[in-house]
C-alpha cells in the first residue's frame, strides 16, 4: 500500500474517498518526485510526515444508521477473520493484521457476552457462523486454521483497501455493541484490575504487550462491565399485542421466544474439555456462546481454567479414532456433536458421536426447505425430534425389524410399486420417499368400488388437465414464454429433488444389502 490507495478510477469507493484525500495525493506526488531525483533525505522526511487519513466520515456517510452498518457486516467480518489468519510477514502490513485480529476477537467476545450466536456450519470451505444482532442475521465464515497457500492471481492491494474500510467499520460497530451491553470498550477481562492485567501465569506464553489480546482471544473469561449486572436488571418485558395479530400467531411467537431462550442456555451447566487435536477457538467460542464452560490443555493456549483430570468435566471433545484411557463420568464426543446440537437447538443423543464412530451427516442449518424441495431423511428425523417425537429410536428399531422380516417387506414394497407405477413419474418418487420415511405398513387393499371412484377422479383430473392444456394453447406469445419458463424452472426443481431422492434410495439399499451380507457372513 505504498502511496495509499489503489482503486480503479470508476469505482464508487474511489469517488467516496478521493475528495478528502488531496493531501495524500500531494504526498504521493512529492514522494515520486523525490524518488525520481534520488533525494533520499527528502524521501525520509516525506515518509516521516506521511499524512494520515481517517475513514470515519465515510463509514458514517455510507451507513447513516447503525442498523445499516449491521446489515452490511457480513463481508467485513469474513474479511477481518481472513486477514487475522494471515502471516505477520509479507502480504500486507502487520498493523492491519493485528488490528483485524483484535477486532475479530472483540466481536467474538461480544457474541459470547450477548449470546447471540444462532447457527454454525462446518463446510469444506471453512466454518460458517450466524449470529443475530439487534434482529439482524449476521453470517460470517472463517477459514480452517491452516497456513494459506497464497494465490498469485489475487490483488492483495484491493483486499487491503477493503480491509482498511472494514476495520474502521467493525471498530465502530464493536464500540457501539459493547456499549449496548454496558461492557467496557476496549474490552477488559472480568475480575482483573489494571494491576492484575500484568501477566502472571501467562508469562511463559506471551510477552507483556501481547498477553492481553491473547487472553482475550482465549475466549474463556467473561468481560468486565461498566455497571455490575444485578438480577433486577432482567426486567420482564411487557407484552404488547401487535394489532391484527391473532392469538395463534402470538402463541407461535411466544413459543419461538421460549425456544430461543432455551437455545441460549443450551450448554449451561456443562463443562467441556477440548483435546489438543480439536480446533480450539471455534469450539471454545461456540460452547461459551451457549453458556457452557470450556477448558483445554494448559500448554495448548493461555486461559485454560481447569485440567483434564477435573472430575466435574461432563463432555470431552475428542477427534481421534480411539482413546487410550477414558475417565468414567464424562462423554467422549466428536466435535460435530457440538455443531449439530447448536443447530438442532437441543443436546442431541450422544451415541452417534462417540470417537471412531461413523458420524451422521452434518446438515446445513441455512437451508429452509420449501414445499416440494428435497429434504434429506436426517433432517426429517431431526425435525421430528424437535417436535418432541422420539423418532430416532423408533426408526432404529424399525430398521432392526426390517432386517428381521425383510422378505415380507420386499413383497409389500413390490405391491406398492405396482400401484404407483400407474401414476406419474414425479409423484411416484416423492410418495415412495414419504412412505419410506413414514412407515412401511400401509393398507394395500384395492376394492372394486374404490377403483371406480379413482377412475372418476382421474377422469375429472384428465378433463381438467386437458382444459388447462387447451387454455395454454390460447395464451399470448409473451405470456406463454413466461409460463413455459416458470414451468421449466419448476420441473427442473422437481427433477433435481427426484434425482437426490433416487440417489439416496440407491445408497440406502446398497448399505442395507451390505449389512445383510455381513450378517449372513457372521452367521455362517
Amino acid at each position: 500500500m505504498q502511496g495509499g490507495l489503489h482503486l480503479p478510477p470508476s469505482s464508487p469507493w474511489k469517488r467516496a474517498l478521493s475528495l478528502p484525500f488531496s493531501a495524500l495525493q500531494v504526498f504521493v506526488r512529492k514522494l515520486r518526485k523525490a524518488y525520481g531525483k534520488s533525494e533520499w533525505s527528502t524521501v525520509e522526511r516525506l515518509k516521516d510526515n506521511k499524512p494520515s487519513y481517517k475513514l470515519d466520515h465515510i463509514v458514517k456517510e455510507r451507513y447513516p444508521t447503525f442498523i445499516d452498518a449491521l446489515r452490511d457486516l457480513d463481508d467485513a467480518l469474513s474479511m477481518c477473520f481472513l486477514f487475522s489468519t494471515f502471516p505477520r510477514t509479507g502480504k500486507c502490513h502487520v498493523q492491519i493484521i493485528q488490528l483485524c485480529r483484535r477486532l475479530s476477537v472483540e466481536f467474538l467476545n461480544y457474541v459470547i457476552a450477548s449470546r447471540s450466536l444462532r447457527k454454525v456450519f462446518l463446510s469444506i470451505k471453512g466454518i460458517y457462523y450466524q449470529a443475530e444482532v439487534l434482529g439482524q442475521p449476521i453470517t460470517w465464515i472463517t477459514p480452517y486454521a491452516f497456513a494459506h497457500d497464497h494465490p498469485t492471481d489475487v490483488d492483495y492491494r484491493v483486499m487491503a483497501t477493503f480491509t482498511e474500510f472494514y476495520t474502521t467499520l467493525l471498530g465502530f460497530v464493536n464500540f457501539r455493541l459493547y456499549h449496548s451491553l454496558n461492557l467496557l470498550y476496549p474490552p477488559k477481562i472480568e475480575g482483573q484490575s489494571e494491576v492484575e492485567l500484568k501477566p502472571t501465569e501467562g508469562e511463559a506464553y506471551a510477552m507483556d504487550s501481547e498477553s492481553y489480546l491473547e487472553k482475550l482471544s482465549a475466549l474463556s473469561a467473561s468481560l468486565a462491565r461498566v455497571v455490575a449486572p444485578t438480577p433486577e436488571d432482567d426486567v420482564e418485558m411487557d407484552e404488547f399485542p401487535v394489532e391484527g395479530e391473532t392469538a395463534e400467531q402470538m402463541d407461535a411467537r411466544k413459543k419461538e421466544q421460549e425456544v430461543l431462550e432455551k437455545q441460549k442456555k443450551l450448554f449451561e451447566g456443562l463443562r467441556f474439555f477440548l483435546n489438543r487435536e480439536v480446533p480450539r477457538e471455534p469450539l471454545a467460542f461456540i460452547i461459551r456462546c451457549f453458556g457452557g464452560q470450556v477448558s483445554w490443555d494448559k500448554s495448548l493456549c493461555i486461559g485454560a481454567t481447569y485440567d483434564v483430570s477435573d472430575p466435574s468435566i461432563t463432555h470431552q471433545i475428542v477427534d481421534r479414532p480411539r482413546l487410550e484411557q477414558q475417565v468414567v463420568g464424562r462423554y467422549y464426543l466428536q466435535p460435530q456433536w457440538v455443531f449439530d446440537s447448536v443447530n438442532a437447538k437441543l443436546c442431541l443423543p450422544v451415541a452417534d458421536y462417540f470417537p471412531g464412530v461413523l458420524l451422521p451427516p452434518h446438515l446445513s442449518p441455512f437451508v429452509t426447505e420449501q414445499e416440494g424441495d428435497y429434504i434429506p431423511p436426517e433432517k426429517l428425523k431431526l425435525l421430528a425430534m424437535q417436535r418432541g417425537e422420539n423418532a430416532g429410536e423408533e426408526s432404529e428399531e424399525e430398521e432392526e425389524e426390517e432386517e428381521e422380516d425383510d422378505n415380507d417387506d420386499d413383497d409389500e414394497e413390490e405391491e406398492e410399486e405396482e400401484d404407483d407405477s400407474e401414476k406419474e413419474e414425479e409423484t411416484k418418487l416423492k410418495k415412495m420417499e414419504e412412505q419410506k420415511t413414514q412407515s412401511k405398513a400401509l393398507p394395500v387393499k384395492v376394492t372394486a368400488g374404490k377403483v371406480r371412484l379413482e377412475d372418476k377422479q382421474r377422469l375429472e383430473q384428465e378433463q381438467q388437465s386437458e382444459e388447462k392444456r387447451l387454455a395454454i394453447m390460447m395464451m399470448k406469445k409473451r405470456e406463454k414464454y413466461l409460463y413455459k419458463k416458470i414451468m421449466f424452472g419448476k420441473k427442473r426443481k422437481v427433477r433435481e429433488a427426484n434425482k437426490l431422492a433416487e440417489k439416496r434410495k440407491a445408497h440406502d439399499t446398497a448399505i442395507k444389502e451390505e449389512k445383510k451380507k455381513n450378517k449372513k457372513a457372521r452367521r455362517a
Binding site: S11, R71, K125, F146, H148, D149, M473
Partner: protein
C-alpha cells in the same frame, strides 16, 4: 614494496621460484593423469588466482593482477637467490615492465637487454602434433607453464605446486602461518594515560563554535516564534467512538438515498458440508462433467466431498480467491434493483369458458373408414350428410355411407385424386373430382333414385350453342364405359388440376391449375358447359380458391395473401395479409364475414373481414404444418388438421353484434391418425348437420369423430 626480509618469512629458506600468473586456460592443458593430483583451477580465474606465489607472506598476495606483476618483477630482480634462476638454460628476463604483453605478440623478441640488443623469445614452432607428443611423453607437462612475460616455459617445482594447491583451497600460502593466533589489541577501549600522539589540541576545541551558536539561536528563535513545532506522536491505534450517537435519518445524502445495499452472499447448502448426506456427493460422471464445464457455468464452485472426521478436513484452497472475487463484485459490479415479477403461473393462463359449456363438439373417435391403400388426400360429403366421398393416392375414389362406414362404391381412376368436391346443391347429385389434368363430374348414383336421375337428365338436357366459343378447357362427354362408372363429363385442362370447389348454388365450380401463368384459376359453369379465365395476370402461386357462400365474392389464396374479388364488378376488393409464410388451406364461415387460413408454418389465421385485412387472431396450436381447415355449417365450430396427426376443434363464436369480437376457444384435440411419411391429417371436414368431424390421414383411413 620493500624487499621482504628474511626474518619476516622464516620458512622461505629454500626460496620458492617465482611462479607467474597461471591463466585460466593453462591448467586445463594438463594430462589427465596429473589432473587427479592437481585439481583444475577454478574457471573464472578471479578467486583462485595466483598472483605472486613466490612471496610466501600472505600480505603480498595482492588481489589485483597488475600490482602482483610488479611484485614479481621486483622480487625477481632483487631476489638473493637470483643466481639460482641462471641455472635455467637461458636467462630470460623481462625488461619491458608491466605492459600488455600482446604488444609483443607479433615480434620475435620481448624487450632489450643492457646493450640494447633484442631479447628473443624462445623459439616456438611446435605444431599441434608436437604439443600432443610432448603432452604424452613429458611427465612434467602438467607442471609446465608458460611465462607470459618472457614467453619461456617454466617447470614448477614441488613447493610451487604445493603453494598453488594451498591457494586454490583458500589456505594461506605460508605453511607456517597460523591464522588463529590470539589477537593483540593495539587500540583498546580503555583510556590510556598517555595520548597516542603528542600533538597539542587545536584552538577550536577550546572555543565554542560561532556557526553552531548561530544555528542554535536560529532554531531557538524559530521555536519561540512557533515556527518549529515538536513532531506529533504518530497514532497507530485508531480511536473508536459512538459514530451513530446522533442518528439523523434526514442527513442521508442524496446519492445514498438511492443506495442499493450489496446483496448478501449465498448461504451454504447441505452439499457444502464437510460430511454431507450421501446423496449430495457427486458420482464419477458428475465429477467429470463438473471438471469439463467452464468455471463460470458451474452450478457449484466446488466439488462436494466427504471427510470422516473434522480432523481430516484440509484448508480450502480457493478461500482467498472467493473473498477477493467478492471484493471485486462489491466494487466493480454495478448494482441494480431488479423487479422480479413473482407471478403465479396459473394466473397467466387466460380464463376461458369451459369447453363443457361450449358443447356440442366432437370428442371421441366413432368410426374408422378403412379401404384405401394409400394416403387419403381429400374428402367431401353430400349436402344431406348421408354419403361421404374420399379421394386417395391409390387412384381410387370411394363412396362411403357415413353412419355405417360401409364402402358403397369404388371408382378406379387414371391418376392420383388431388381434390374432390360434392355439389352443395341438395337437388343435384354430382361430385367434381380433380384427377391429373382433368376434372371429372361424377354422378355417384347414391341415395334417392329420383334425385340422381334428375341430375342425369339435367346434364343430358344440355344443348350445344350454335356458335362454338373459344374456351381454355375442353368439355367432353363421358364414353359409355366411363358412363357406366358414373362419370358424366370430363373437363380437360391443359395442366394438372390442384383443387376444385363448387359455388354454393351448385352451378359454377372453380378449378386451380398447377401453373405459373395467368391460367391458374378457371371458373366453369356446368349447365352451359362453359369455362372462363377470370384473371388477366398472375398474382403469384395460387394455393386455393373459395366462393363466398352468399355474396358474389371470390377468394384466391396465394402463398402469403388472400385476395378477395368481387365477381360482379370484376375487381379486387380486399387483400388480406396472412402473416404466414405459405398458406395451405382456407375456409369461410357460413356467415361469410370470417375466414380462417391454415399455413404450412403451423399457424392458423382468423380474419374478420369487417375488421381489418390483418388476422384478428393467429393461433399456433399445432406443432407442425397445417394441411386443412374447415368450418361447420351450423355450429360455431372450426377444425384444423395438421401433420402432427392431430385435429384441433375450436369453438369460434361469431356474434351478430358487430361490436363484439369473435370468441375463439380450443375445445378438443382429437388424435387418432398414425403418422406416415411424416404426414398426419391431410383433410378435415365437418358433417353438414351434426357436430361431427371427418378427418382423412396419410395412414389411408378416414375417421369420424363425434
Amino acid at each position: 614494496c620493500a624487499e621482504p626480509s628474511g626474518a619476516s618469512r622464516p620458512g622461505a629458506a629454500p626460496a620458492p621460484r617465482p611462479c607467474w600468473e597461471t591463466g585460466a586456460s593453462e591448467p586445463r592443458r594438463r594430462p589427465a593423469g596429473g589432473a587427479a593430483a592437481a585439481p583444475a583451477a577454478s574457471g573464472g580465474g578471479g578467486s583462485g588466482r595466483v598472483d605472486c606465489p613466490s612471496l610466501s607472506c600472505p600480505a603480498f598476495v595482492s588481489p589485483s593482477g597488475t600490482q602482483g606483476c610488479i611484485c614479481v618483477e621486483l622480487c625477481v630482480l632483487h631476489h638473493p637467490h637470483a643466481a639460482f634462476l641462471s641455472t635455467l638454460p637461458q636467462d630470460i628476463r623481462n625488461t619491458v615492465g608491466n605492459i600488455p604483453m600482446e604488444w609483443y605478440q607479433d615480434f620475435p623478441h620481448i624487450g632489450y637487454d643492457l646493450e640494447g640488443k633484442k631479447i628473443y623469445k624462445p623459439i616456438r614452432n611446435k605444431d599441434e602434433l608436437d604439443k600432443f607428443l610432448e603432452k604424452m611423453e613429458n611427465p612434467d607437462y602438467w607442471r609446465t607453464v608458460q611465462d607470459k612475460m618472457t614467453g619461456a616455459d617454466i617447470k614448477l617445482t614441488d613447493e610451487q605446486v604445493d603453494l598453488v594447491h594451498r591457494l586454490q583451497k583458500g589456505q594461506f600460502g605460508d605453511v607456517h602461518f597460523d591464522p588463529y593466533e590470539p589477537a593483540i589489541d593495539f587500540f583498546s577501549h580503555e583510556v590510556m594515560i598517555h595520548p597516542v600522539t603528542n600533538r597539542p589540541a587545536d584552538k577550536r576545541s577550546f572555543i565554542p563554535s560561532l556557526i553552531e551558536k548561530e544555528k542554535v539561536s536560529k532554531l531557538v528563535h524559530a521555536i519561540k516564534m512557533g515556527w518549529i513545532k515538536p513532531r506529533k506522536p504518530k497514532e497507530d491505534t485508531p480511536t473508536y467512538y459512538d459514530l451513530w450517537a446522533h442518528e439523523d435519518p434526514n442527513s442521508i445524502l442524496g446519492r445514498h438515498k438511492m443506495h442499493v445495499p450489496a446483496p448478501k452472499m449465498k448461504l451454504p447448502g447441505h452439499e457444502e458440508s464437510y460430511n454431507p448426506p450421501p446423496e449430495y456427493l457427486p458420482s464419477e460422471e458428475e465429477k467429470l462433467a463438473w471438471e469439463q464445464q467452464e468455471p463460470a457455468e458451474r452450478k457449484l464452485n466446488f466439488v462436494p466431498r466427504q471427510y470422516r472426521c473434522l480432523r481430516a478436513v484440509p484448508a480450502y484452497s480457493r478461500f482467498i480467491h472467493e473473498r477477493f472475487e467478492r471484493c471485486l463484485d462489491l466494487y466493480l459490479c454495478p448494482r441494480q434493483r431488479k423487479m422480479r415479477v413473482n407471478v403465479d403461473p396459473e394466473d397467466l393462463i387466460p380464463k376461458l369458458p369451459k369447453p363443457r359449456d361450449l358443447q356440442p363438439f366432437p370428442t371421441t373417435q366413432a368410426l374408422v373408414y378403412r379401404g384405401h391403400s394409400s394416403l387419403v388426400r381429400c374428402l367431401s360429403i353430400c349436402p344431406g350428410g348421408q354419403w361421404l366421398v374420399s379421394g386417395s393416392d391409390d387412384c381410387t375414389v370411394r363412396f362411403w355411407e357415413v353412419s355405417t362406414a360401409r364402402c358403397m362404391k369404388t371408382l378406379p381412376l387414371a391418376g392420383v385424386v388431388k381434390s374432390i368436391s360434392w355439389n352443395p346443391n341438395p337437388t343435384i347429385c354430382l361430385v367434381a373430382i380433380a384427377v391429373e389434368q382433368s376434372v371429372l363430374l361424377v354422378n355417384p348414383s347414391l341415395g334417392d333414385k329420383l334425385l340422381y336421375g334428375a341430375t342425369d337428365q339435367l346434364l343430358e338436357s344440355y344443348v350445344a350453342p350454335e356458335e362454338e366459343r373459344v374456351q381454355p378447357v375442353q368439355w367432353v362427354a363421358a364414353t359409355t364405359e366411363e358412363h357406366g362408372k358414373g362419370i358424366r363429363l370430363v373437363v380437360q385442362h391443359s395442366r394438372p388440376v390442384k383443387q376444385v370447389t363448387w359455388h354454393g348454388k351448385g352451378d359454377y365450380f372453380a378449378s386451380v391449375l398447377a401453373d405459373n401463368s395467368n391460367m391458374q384459376v378457371l371458373i366453369h359453369q356446368t349447365s352451359k358447359r362453359w369455362s372462363q379465365n377470370p384473371f388477366r395476370k398472375s398474382k403469384g402461386l395460387v394455393q386455393c380458391v373459395l366462393f363466398h357462400p352468399i355474396r358474389p365474392y371470390f377468394f384466391v389464396a396465394t402463398q402469403r395473401y388472400v385476395r378477395v374479388y368481387n365477381l360482379l364488378k370484376q375487381e379486387l376488393t380486399k387483400k388480406l395479409m396472412t402473416n404466414c409464410k405459405w398458406v395451405s388451406s382456407m375456409a369461410i364461415h357460413p356467415g361469410g364475414d370470417n375466414i380462417i387460413c391454415g399455413s404450412y408454418d403451423s399457424k392458423l389465421a382468423w380474419f374478420d373481414l369487417d375488421l381489418s385485412t390483418r388476422p384478428y387472431q393467429l393461433l399456433r396450436h399445432h406443432k407442425k404444418a397445417l394441411r386443412s381447415v374447415a368450418f361447420h355449417k351450423h355450429y360455431p365450430l372450426f377444425a384444423s388438421g395438421s401433420d402432427d396427426g392431430s385435429v384441433i376443434v375450436c369453438h369460434g363464436m361469431v356474434y351478430n353484434d358487430l361490436l363484439q369480437n369473435p370468441l375463439l376457444v380450443p375445445v378438443k384435440v382429437l388424435k387418432g391418425h398414425a403418422l406416415t411419411w411424416d404426414l398426419g391429417v391431410l383433410d378435415v371436414l365437418f358433417h353438414p348437420t351434426q357436430p361431427w368431424v371427418f378427418s382423412s390421414g396419410a395412414d389411408g383411413t378416414v375417421r369420424l369423430f363425434t
